[in-house]
Symmetry: C2
Subunit: 113 residues, 2 copies
């Protein structure tokens, strides 16, 4: 699971889950769980890629999926459900989850969005 590079997603359309969070001061267990969930997500059907960045204030994880069905299955996955519960209780002061349909994408060398 490579988390220090960008996701080589296919041509749109596909779906993005934009998970943005503001952390609490509770650090215990977070990094291990985050790594475990990234590895687990990457083995789910319909997973296309993930990009994540965390600084002192804000964490953003964008994961990419073939369709809404695969997003739903990932949301319901048992270990992920437990991680969501722990996240709400311990690690997140605030978060947003936005589900969006990617319509267009460009990489570096392209001239126009």
């Amino acid at each position: 699971m490579n988390t220090d590079s960008l996701a080589n997603t296919p041509e749109p359309p596909y779906y993005a889950v934009i998970f943005t969070s503001k952390r609490t001061d509770v650090g215990s267990g977070y990094a291990e769980m985050a790594a475990r969930m990234m590895a687990l997500a990457s083995r789910q059907p319909g997973f296309l890629g993930v990009e994540t960045s965390h600084d002192d204030q804000i964490g953003i994880t964008a994961s990419y999926w073939k369709d809404e069905k695969s997003i739903h299955a990932w949301k319901e996955q048992a270990d992920h459900q437990e991680a969501q519960r722990l996240g709400k209780e311990n690690w997140y002061e605030d978060y947003f989850i936005r589900v969006a349909k990617v319509e267009r994408a460009v990489e570096l060398t392209a001239e126009a969005v």
Copy 2:
């Protein structure tokens, strides 16, 4: 321009621009330009909010917009065009820009995506 909190976006639908980048080793001028562009974007018509996170490897900025027209206008804005040119030349080893229509969103206390 508050960049250490999450974006209080309205109810979907609206649009997201997911800008993910892998930086070069060139740091000069980057932070100032990034701050200037965030401030400038926030004054554009149709701007709904922005969230950004940068770590050693990856930067992710998710900006939210009322519609595709406002995204297009921001892309064409003159100072932003110059920033895009400098970014390609100096600061970004690789980047993706993904334009996506946000269909659903939940905040912390909600039970389901």
